[in-house]
Amino acid sequence: MATVNNDIKTYKGFRAITLLCLLVLYAPLVIVTIYSFNASASITNWEGLSFRWYADVFTGPESDKFKVAAFNSFTIAIMAATASTTIATLAATAMVRGGKFKLRTVSFGLISLPLMVPEIVTAVATLIFFNSIGFTRGYLTILVAHIAFCIPFAYLPISARMQGIEDSFEQAAMDLYATKRQAFTKVLMPLMAPGIISGFLLAFIVSLDDFIITNFVKGAGVETLPTAIFGSVKQGIKPNIMAISTMLLSFSIVMVTISYFVSKSDNTK
C-alpha cells in the first residue's frame, strides 16, 4: 500500500535536483568557512590550517573598526528586536483577537508594508524622511529604521501562533473568574511564548543582517558589521573577512536553529 502510494507521488530526478539545490545553497558557505582557517595571507592558495585570521579579527589592524561595528550591530539588533516584538505582539492581539473591524485590512497592509516595498525603496524613503525633518543620521536613525522594518518579521510568527491557539483557553480562564487582563497574562501569553521567542529571534537576525537600509541611513562614521564588511569587500575579499563572515554565519545558523526548535515545541497539544 505504502509503496504504491509513493510510486504515484515521486518523480525520477526530483531527488537529484533537491540535492543539487542543497549543494548550491551550502557550497559557498562551507567553502568560505574552510578558507577562513587558511594559514595563507592569499585567498587563493591553501597553506594549512590556522586560526590566524580569527586572531586578526580581534587584534589586527582592522579590529577596532570591527569591534565598534559589532557593538553597534548587536546593540541595535537587541533593541530593535525587543521593540518590534513588543509592538508586533500587541498588534497581533488586536488583529487576531480583536474581532472584525473596518481598518483590519488597512492595518494588515500597513504591517506588511516593509515586506512589499522593495528594500532599496524603503532605504531611499527613510533617508529622505530623516533628511527632510533635519534629523542627523547616525546610530539612532539606524535603530528607528530597524524597529520599523523588523515589525512584520516579528508579527508573522506571532500572529500565526495566536491563530493556532483556540480562544476557548482564554474563555475557560474567564469562566473560572480570571479578568481579561489575567486571561491574557496567565493563559494567552504563556501559550504564545514559542511564537514570541521565534518572532524575536527572526527580528533579531533580520536587524543584524540588514545592509541596504543601514547603508542609507547610517550617516558618516557609524558602521554596523554588514556595512563594515561591505566597505572592506569593495577592496577585494580578504581572509579576515572570511573569518568574520564565518563567525556571523555560525551565529545566524545557531539562532535560526534555536528558533526552529522553539517553534516546534508546541505547548498547546
Partner: protein, 309 residues
Amino acid sequence: MAAGAASGGSATTDTYKEARNWLLLPSWAVLGIFVLAPVCMMLVYSFLTKEFRGGVIWEPSLAAYDQFFFDRGLFGDEPAKIEWTYITIFWRSIWQAGAATLLSLVIGFPTAYFIATRPERVRPFWVFLITIPYWVNLLIRTVSMKFLLRDQGPLNDFLIGTGLIDSPIHIVNTNFAVQLGLFYSYLPFMVLPIYAAVERYNFSLSEAAADLYAPKWVTLRRIVLPAIKPGVIAGCILVFVPSMGSFLAPDLLGGAKNFMIGSLIEEQFKGNAGNWPFGAAASMILLTMVLIILLIFARQQSKAENGGS
C-alpha cells in the same frame, strides 16, 4: 454550527475587542511615521529640484522624470528624444529578475515537490535545511558566492584539477553570475509557497489520474500543476519582486556592465555625484511597477479563491 462559526472559530475572535485601538496604536505610529510617511516624502522629493551636493532645493520640478525618459542633449536645448539609458537599465533588471525567477522555478519546483512528498515527520526538517542559508547574512552569502566563482576560486580550481577544463571559466561579472546570486538570495521564497501548495494537494487525484491510464508526467502536467498553480505563481512573484530591486548581487557579482536599478538608485545618494530627486523618481517608478505586479497578483489570487471551489 452557525454560532460557532461566528464566534468560536479560531481565525478571528473578539476577546480583546475593547482594547483593539490601543493595541494597534504603536504599530500604526511606528510604521506610519517611519515607513508610510517616508514613502510619501519620497514622492514629494521626486518632484523637487536637485541640489548639487546631494539633497534638494524646495522648488517643484519635473526634471527628475524628464531626465529619466527624455534626452534633450547636453545643454537641454535639443528636441526631446527618448532617453534609452535608464529604460535599458530597468529592462535589464526585469530581464535578470525574470531569468533568476526561471532558474529558481526550475530548481525550486522539484525541490519543493520532493520535500512535500517526504513522510510528514521529516518534512519540517527538509524545509529547515532549505531555509537555513536564507537566514545567513545576504552580504556574506553573496560574498561567499563571489569567492567560490572567482577565476582563481575553488570552483575553477576544482574543475581544472579534475581535468574537465584547461583554463578558468569566467563567471563573475557576467549576467549568469547575477542570476545565480539572485537565485541564491531568494530561493526559499520560491520553494516555500510551492511546498505549501503541494502539501495541501490531495494525492488521491493523482491516483485517480493513474487509474484512468494517465502516465506520470501527464499527471504532473495536467492534474498536479493546475492544482498548485497559485503556489507556483506566488513563488514566482516572491522571487521576481525583490530580485528586480536588488542591490548586492548585481553590485558584487555583476560588475559595471551589468548595472541594475538598485545600483542606479544607490548611486544617486552616494557622494557628490548624486541626484536625489532623480533617485527618488527612479524609486517611485520601481515601487509603482512592484505595486502593479502585486495588485494583479492579489486580484488573481482572490479570483482563484472565489472561483476555486
